[in-house]
Amino acid sequence: MQTLYDKLWRSHVVHEESPGDPDGMTLLYIDRHLVHEVTSPQAFEGLKLAGRRPWRRDSILAVADHNVPTTARGQGISDPVSRLQVETLDQNCDELGITEFRMNDLRQGIVHVIGPEQGATLPGMTVVCGDSHTSTHGAFACLAFGIGTSEVEHVLASQCLLTKKTKAMQVSVDGELGHGITAKDIALAVIGEIGTAGGTGYAIEFAGSAIRGLSMEGRMTLCNMAIEAGARAGMVAVDETTIEYLRGRPFAPKGELWDRATAYWRSLKSDEGARFDKVVRFDAAQIRPQVTWGTSPEMVTAVDGKVPDPAQVEDAVKRHDMERALKYMGLAPNTPISEIRPDKIFIGSCTNARIEDLRAAAEVVKDRHIAANIRLAMVVPGSGLVKKQAEQEGLDKIFRDAGFEWREPGCSMCLAMNDDRLEPGERCAATSNRNFEGRQGPGGRTHLVSPAMAAAAAVAGHFVDVRKKY
């Protein structure tokens, strides 16, 4: 009896340094290598310096997403340092014959949005990228995880990674989610419970009836945030939702190969009775809309809760961290979450910039307008194709009428490597994944929420319980 993780792992083992030792280093074959501009230049340089060539070019898909501007794309990238990094990716891909979606290609977007959108992410694959949110792709029953630049070079050169098997954790969410509760709320509630290091050393499989009920977009949101719980990989078993999502995607198999593939994919689930090293269970009905109040995703509570009081915490290191976080966030203990007033709203990122996310936010802001205290509200679609789809559905008009800016696709203000950022002290309701100090700009204060919650905060001017208001 095997877990899904066991199956994915075993089907990719090329060589074991110490055969039989479950804790030994293993050479693991990589099926899909996603590449972006920030973590690849040094890897390509290393490859060239060593006189090596990519092992399998057709396994690679490249896109620039972190540095790209979300306005006035026609004028190129104004920051010369960012421009050089994107041009370096273009050159490397040209020289080596690697498929790349360039900045003005309709298919360009955030690497973790375009992989699945193109069908370049398929069940049963091993997927890596020099980016921690590669865990997103596990929604397709892939073994997908982030790697460093040395490993990017390693995979380019050998199609393999030297790595170790981790333990397996099952996070089971059963029951029915309440109205307005999304995958983002599940993710934050799980992290709030197990902590940002709760998944360290594990691959997490999300299971249970509430997970089965999620769309692929929702499953991607959930697996995306597995890394915020410390788990390098998150995954969900294959079902008909998975297969229907992939049907007809450009990189997905066709005809007879499709039939063979789907027959195999249907086996990609944990066997009945398979043993996990750890099991954590959640009751879906108990999950409320989540809002982070601190500088780590585990510093989270429900929208109807309050900012916690460090004085109530016994552990000295933890208390100290909370005090520091509250000082940075400019929040007093016991402040009701609903009294927190954001200055900016960011709807985007590899966590929440897919069509379903934009629909959920648009539904809340339709025929309404952002509140007077909101200095900027922006929607940054996850890809050019998401943007086009949203425009066909008229969502861009709903957002613009409500006072939102409608931007070009990219990572944008999730990590503020381009010009989209918070000013010191500014507070943001963000649908992204990290509320670390300075993440959205030096001194910026981030509250992580779902797209509907961000939209509701934009309209009300403070956090509100999306279940009651909309």
């Binding site: 090329v14 060589h15 340094e17 110490s18 804790d23 280093m25 050479l27 074959y29 099926d31 920030v38 973590t39 340089e45 290393g46 399998r56 972190h66 920051d79 340092v81 050089l84 990094q85 398929l122 049963g124 020099g130 980016d131 921690s132 590669t134 995880f145 982030g146 790697i147 460093g148 040395s150 490993e151 390693h154 050169a157 050998s158 199609q159 393999c160 030297l162 981790t166 940002t196 290091a197 360290t200 050393g201 890394i227 410390g230 390098r232 198999p253 190969l257 063979r260 593939a261 290191v317 933890k318 520091r324 990590l415 503020a416 490597m417 990290r434 670390f436 100090e437 300075g438 030096p442």
Partner: protein, 212 residues
């Protein structure tokens, strides 16, 4: 990769949990296409009072006198003593690059985030896991003693205090050999090229759609 065998080094403390890679090296410095030069921007937002951007001359910037690495007693530290879940967040190898470029050879903590931990071994920076109680003890001794040093011996897998107390640490034997000999992992892997090709042939036969 840089070889690591032994380090008898000055220790600096970073007494907070969950230090993330955004704090270790902020995103604006990730725009570099080089592998070196990140040390001057290690912990940039904590270390300087002014906002840092790539290309700035760090000698002209305002250091934050309260930040621990700016205290004279920790100047030239080679060992960083940290708290749990060190290196959480993004996969940026720029974080270990920055620590190494600054002069650190060892980071000791009760736990590390997986990707960061893994990245360290690829460049010859040694991450050591010691249990919470021992790390607490080291923090206390370090606080009480100026010029506090630790001797880290990889061959014997030990951390020794000035008082002569020795703590054993675990390390994967393969990683240990790579570090001790400064081995190039890619070169090692490519010695298995025939195995990789054989695997690929089998894989292609069973899942041809992956090679379409």
């Amino acid at each position: 990769m840089k070889k690591f065998t032994f380090c008898d080094g000055l220790v600096a403390p970073l007494d907070r949990a969950n230090v993330d890679t955004d704090a270790i090296i902020p995103k604006q410095f990730l725009k570099s296409i080089k592998r070196s030069g990140f040390g001057q921007n290690l912990f940039d937002e904590w270390r300087y009072l002014d906002h840092g951007e790539p290309g700035m001359d760090s000698t002209q910037r305002k250091p934050n006198p309260d930040f621990v690495l700016n205290l004279p007693r920790y100047r030239g530290a080679q060992i960083l003593l940290a708290r749990s879940n060190f290196g959480c967040g993004s996969s940026r190898e720029h974080a270990p690059w920055a620590l190494q470029d600054y002069g650190f050879e060892v980071v000791i903590a009760p736990s590390f985030a997986d990707i960061f931990f893994n990245n360290c071994f690829k460049i010859g920076l040694l991450p050591i896991v010691l249990d919470e109680v021992k790390v607490d003890q080291l923090f206390r001794e370090l606080e009480a003693n100026d010029g506090y040093r630790l001797a880290v011996d990889l061959e014997n897998q030990s951390v020794t205090t000035p008082g002569g107390e020795s703590f054993f640490f675990d390390i994967d034997p393969f990683r240990k050999q790579c570090l001790l000999n400064g081995l190039d992992e890619i070169g090692l892997t490519l010695q298995h090229a025939d195995k990789i090709k054989a695997f690929e042939d089998r894989h292609r036969a069973t899942q041809p759609w992956l090679f379409a």
